[in-house]
Amino acid sequence: MMAALVQVEDISKTYAGVRALDSVSFDVRAGEWIAIMGPSGSGKTTLINILGGLDKPTSGRAMVDGVNVGTLGERELTRYRAEKVGFVFQHFYLVPYLSALENVMLAQYFHSVADEAEAAEALTRVGLGDRLDHLPSELSGGEQQRVALARALINHPKLILADEPTGNLDEANELIVLELLRELHRSGHTILLVTHSPEIGRMADRRIELAHGRLMHIVANVN
């Protein structure tokens, strides 16, 4: 049995009196693919943000690779985000005035040192070897999301946090991105993916279902 990479222990998060997460606990083993599911407002993104060091829990512990994320100071959180996690967002969130290559290099720059050859190789792996110098506005939605995937992976993070990564994609591009996620999973990456889609949920090792901030079920998929 592999050790837990992520340990969520009795986490709650309150925004202006509204409980976005309510005593949620679960573990994620290294190399696991977890789908976080639930209706809008169920606390999926809040959970991802806490694990990504973008938000702090009101109570409880969120341990990632032995680090209690909720207790980190601003400077430590910055290092944590650069070194431990890779984000993929529904709206891609690429810097519009940087090329595909530079968007990937930006993550390297914040991590340590930008390496153009390595960034180009990462983009080639996601099928964008011929789009290195294109600005995000010159790329399709699927291509932008693949740039975001390359950016998330470039610093070899322990944990990939994907918040509805296919939510803004057409079917063809959704398949491409999901195939890339499958490959990542096969190569041993730990993925926490927020989705509304039952089909995508079934592709994961386990599904964590939230409702009104509470953990309703943890379901193991048989793939």
């Binding site: 973008l54 985000r81 650069a82 810097v95 530079e102 390297q108």
Partner: protein, 376 residues
């Protein structure tokens, strides 16, 4: 990567940044012009003030009832000091003489002097006729307006001067109006006055025209006092103080305007940057989510502001130098020389102003990535 991102930032926001550069360049142009005027034109103005005549007088101390005189060798002593500030030296020997022109005669003060120096140091006098510009001239004289009226003289007429039984006959070259006691005097060559007064190698006083601010003039007086012991060296206070006050006011006006321009430039940059900050909120939130430290992100924006300050400063410097020349000519009637020392001063000021104006970008450091990624 830093420079690569910076270049992309500058290129992507070129329209907004052009506005900021324009604001900085406008401020830099005015600042350059005024600073150059302060350095160059006020220096020239102090020289221009010298046409208003002498501002230091060297005289022998009073000794009984007789009019005190001193040896003319003191003139050479002054000249041998080679004081940089001294722009002109004119000795005077005063005689209380009788003047006659045709039927008219009257007592007058005759001033024996270096007529060429008097012309140079008092170029603001209004002269009807011509100056006498030959230092040793023994045939011509200048006469003050009041004395000329009393004797009924016009340029070209002959005036006879009598002193101690000796007499000289001179042609009036020009009638001078100074608006002071000089209007009642007759100006003749120093050698002739010394002959009439039988005071060879003697002068009553020496007038000196010196450039510089009030402290500089005080310093000149101090050095003259050391070189000329036993003589009285006095500033012409009224003139020196008026010059000092005027220069101080001009400087005050220049610096006040520079300060105002700097504030206005900052506001111009601030307005341009405020729009930019709104556009960049999302990028900053994202950069922080990717592990970008506030210091690293802010360094980019501050470098951008510095670039704006530099670009605007250089462009404004070029325009400002032209403006300085124009203001110098039109307002102060002096030609200005570009002073390169103004360039680093302008650049430093403009970079500071741009950094101050970049406040909205600096505030972006407070952006919370989770707020941005939630779409707030």
């Amino acid at each position: 990567m830093f420079w690569r991102i910076l270049w992309r930032l500058l290129y992507a926001s070129r329209a907004r940044l052009a506005l900021a550069v324009l604001a900085v360049a406008s401020g830099a142009a005015v600042c350059t012009a005024l600073l150059n005027l302060d350095l160059d034109a006020t220096d020239k103005l102090t020289r221009e003030f010298r046409v208003l005549g002498a501002n230091i007088v060297v005289s022998a101390p009073q000794n009984g009832d007789a009019a005190p005189t001193m040896d003319a060798v003191n003139i050479e002593r002054i000249q041998q000091l080679h004081l940089q500030e001294v722009a002109g030296v004119a000795p005077y020997l005063y005689l209380s003489a009788e003047a006659q022109a045709g039927e008219n005669d009257a007592p007058v003060i005759v001033a024996g002097t270096w007529l060429d120096e008097v012309a140079r140091m008092n170029s603001w006098w209004k002269v009807d006729g011509n100056w006498v510009r030959d230092r040793d001239n023994r045939n011509d004289c200048m006469i003050g307006e009041a004395a000329a009226a009393k004797l009924g003289l016009v340029p070209g007429k002959i005036v006879k001067i009598r002193y101690g039984g000796r007499e000289a006959s001179l042609t009036v070259s020009g009638i001078a109006t100074a608006g002071s006691s000089e209007d009642s005097q007759i100006f003749i060559g120093l050698p002739l006055a010394q002959e009439l007064g039988v005071q060879k190698s003697q002068v009553s006083l020496i007038q000196i025209s010196a450039n510089g601010s009030a402290p500089e003039i005080e310093d000149v007086i101090h050095r003259l006092s050391i070189a000329l012991p036993g003589l009285e060296i006095q500033p012409l206070h009224q003139l020196a103080q008026a010059e000092g006050r005027l220069l101080e006011r001009i400087r005050g006006l220049l610096f006040g305007t520079v300060l105002l321009i700097l504030v206005l430039t900052s506001l111009g940059v601030l307005a341009a940057m405020a729009g930019l900050a709104l556009e960049r909120r999302r990028d900053v939130g994202l950069m922080k989510a990717l592990g970008g430290s506030v210091r690293r992100i802010m360094r980019l924006f501050l470098a951008e502001a510095t670039a704006i300050g530099f670009a605007g400063g250089i462009f404004g410097f070029i325009v400002g130098m032209a403006l300085s020349g124009w203001i110098g000519e039109r307002v102060f009637s002096v030609s200005t020389t570009p002073r390169l020392i103004v360039l680093p001063a302008t650049l430093a000021l403009m970079v500071l102003v741009s950094l101050a104006g970049a406040l909205p970008l600096r505030l972006l450091g407070r952006v919370r990535p989770s707020d941005i990624l939630r779409g707030e």
